[in-house]
């Protein structure tokens, strides 16, 4: 009796999971369906689950469109996302380690100053930041798109929490071996903290790839457009090109999905051992 009940419960749970999984996948399916349809098929009054013909030519059309430098924007996004990720992780991990491990009288004050910025919405500082960056002459440069975003309080906070829980014995041993803080950090701490680097790195990478408002305003020249800006250019003031918009959106999330699937294991491991919770 009981066994049967348990088995029914288990089957129900599996069914529910599958149903939810299908629901979660529908938007991805729509992205593909619309991206590979003709304009007419997308707006056809009769719903079809699969377009009459899959128009892979849409992808070609997207890259051939001379009015939107889509390939260039993909390259820009990749450059920016990689550079932002490396820079952010480097700066934030050093700072997080210093805050967690180096005894210094004002360490807590510095930490609260970092933490406080988490509560300030970016829109608050948007206009002055823009003016600042433009004063530096960084408009339409990769520098302007990258450097101001490198100092992530969130990343620093996660690293600090992680390093607080890092086993002190390892560092003590390193000190006995005569290593200073700098070499201890690089030779002992970093190699043993890979999950948190992967977790923070992935989160930063996603954020950098998906950023919209800052690249839109800083990347004024077409040669500095990111993929999100290029995407928004398909909804022009007057006419929306639906199929091009959807195929572009599909292409734009591909690299991210790959990164995501590859690093998922690390993210989970990083979250488990970091102080995100």
């Amino acid at each position: 009796m009981d066994d049967a009940l348990v088995r029914v419960g288990r089957a129900l749970r599996l069914a529910l999971l599958i149903a939810l999984a299908v629901l979660f996948l529908i938007p991805f399916y729509l992205l593909l369906r619309n991206g590979l349809s003709s304009e007419r098929d997308i707006t056809s009054p009769e719903w079809t689950f699969f377009p009459a013909e899959l128009r892979w030519g849409n992808v070609r059309e997207l890259f051939d469109d001379t009015s939107v430098p889509f390939a260039r924007s993909l390259l820009n996004s990749a450059l920016i996302a990689v550079a932002t990720t490396l820079g952010t992780v480097l700066l934030a991990s050093l700072a997080g380690y210093g805050l967690a491990r180096i005894p210094y009288r004002h360490a807590n004050k510095v930490f609260y100053a970092v933490l406080g910025t988490l509560m300030v919405p970016a829109a608050v500082t948007f206009v002055p930041s823009f003016v600042l960056v433009s004063t530096l002459g960084w408009i339409s440069t990769l520098r302007g798109l990258i450097v101001p975003t490198l100092f992530s309080a969130f990343a620093c906070f996660v690293f600090r929490q992680y390093f607080l829980g890092f086993p002190r014995e390892l560092e003590d041993a390193a000190q006995v071996d005569g290593l200073g803080p700098w070499r201890t950090y690089w030779l002992v701490v970093v190699p043993n903290a890979r999950p948190v680097f992967a977790a923070v790195g992935t989160i930063v990478f996603i954020g950098a790839w998906n950023a919209f408002l800052w690249p839109l305003v800083i990347g004024q020249d077409q040669s500095a457009w990111t993929v999100q800006v290029a995407l928004s250019s398909f909804t022009t003031a007057q006419v929306v090109r639906l199929h091009e918009l959807f195929v572009a959106a599909a292409v734009s999330i591909l690299p991210l999905l790959l990164v995501f699937l590859c690093f998922q294991r690390w993210i989970v491991a990083g979250v488990e051992r970091s102080g995100i919770d």
């Binding site: 719903w47 970092v114 500082t125 002055p128």
Partner: protein
């Protein structure tokens, strides 16, 4: 955001042990300060330049009449603040935020926890399910809003939602344009749920992994049936720390809501007066052709203060900082 943010893990304490006042102690202190700044300095300098300078600049602007300028000369004291606090549209936007939070925080919490519990218990294809629910977290709000607005919840008969309604004989609904009943909430809430539930599910999964299996075995010995009783008396209490962090993160994120609202509801002519959260309202006040930077900054400062008060209050309420002390 976490228990450990507030506690004094006290990197300070060991310094005192070295004994104060003696020349060698001072040298040790100086050396530590130097090392501290080697590690923290580059980050702190960047944060100061790219966050604190603009922040203080904004605060300064909020005391000036700053139409179309960032270097205003006309000091107006607290006028911008009184104007903002007596502006019904701004107060409305705060109400929208409250309502949105009241929806999204419990909804995400329950969905993420349910997903985590189910994925944790499932025997086959666990990695598959985890990936599927986590995958949307890689999507941008721009892309998600596009799918929601143009394909799922558009108001005409070929939208997915309306097609499904049509199978059951329902009339098409203009989801984003209908204020009575306020269907737009369904669109706004589902898009965010889809985007973020997976991320919080991962946090819960991590929390579940840490629960000692012995607890469950003991409960089984005591005759507790797996299911609701165990969930209530073991799982949930054990997940308390995770839950607190998830709720805090959800509230902070709800405060900062901008992207999906903007991408779903704005058009070339502006933004409707409903479902307008504070950041969207401030965006139209301070940026765009509105360009009332003084008023916008005042609103932003008010908002930041509210966020700070709520976050700190929440941390106190949940008794953060006591956790580690309690054991």
């Amino acid at each position: 955001m976490s228990a450990r943010t507030v506690d004094a893990d006290a990197p300070v304490a060991p310094a005192r042990a070295a004994g104060e006042g003696t020349p060698s102690a001072r040298a040790v202190r100086r050396r530590r300060a130097l090392w501290f700044w080697v590690f923290v300095g580059p980050f702190a300098a960047g944060l100061a330049l790219f966050t604190y300078v603009p922040l203080l600049w904004s605060v300064a602007l909020s005391f000036f009449d700053a139409h179309n300028t960032v270097t205003p000369t006309h000091f107006v004291g607290l006028d911008n603040y009184t104007a903002m606090l007596s502006d019904d549209a701004f107060l409305d936007s705060l109400r929208v935020f409250l309502l949105f939070t009241a929806f999204i925080v419990p909804a995400t919490y329950v969905l993420a926890l349910a997903l985590a519990l189910m994925v944790n218990r499932v025997r086959r294809a666990r990695a598959f399910f985890r990936s599927v629910f986590f995958l949307p977290a890689a999507c941008s709000y721009v892309v998600a809003a596009l799918i929601w607005k143009m394909s799922i919840f558009n108001g005409v008969r070929f939208g997915l939602a309306n097609t499904v309604l049509g199978w059951f004989g329902g009339d098409p609904v203009a989801w984003l344009s209908t204020t009575d009943p306020p269907w737009y909430w369904l669109v706004v809430v589902t898009v965010r749920l889809w985007l973020q539930a997976g991320f919080y599910m991962i946090l819960f999964l991590a929390g579940l992994q840490r629960i000692d299996p012995v607890l469950y075995e003991a409960a089984a010995v005591d005759g507790a049936r797996p299911g609701w009783t165990v969930l209530r008396h073991i799982t949930l209490p054990q997940l308390r720390a995770t839950s607190v962090a998830v709720v805090l993160l959800l509230v902070i994120n709800a405060f900062q809501a901008f992207d999906e609202f903007y991408n779903l509801l704005s058009d070339a002519r502006g933004y409707p007066p409903y479902a307008r959260p504070p950041l969207v309202y401030l965006y139209y006040t301070a940026l765009g052709q509105g360009q009332n930077l003084g008023l916008g900054s005042a609103g932003a400062v008010i908002l930041a203060l509210i966020i700070a008060v709520v976050t700190v209050g929440q941390a106190r309420w949940f008794g953060l900082g006591r956790r580690d002390a309690d054991g």
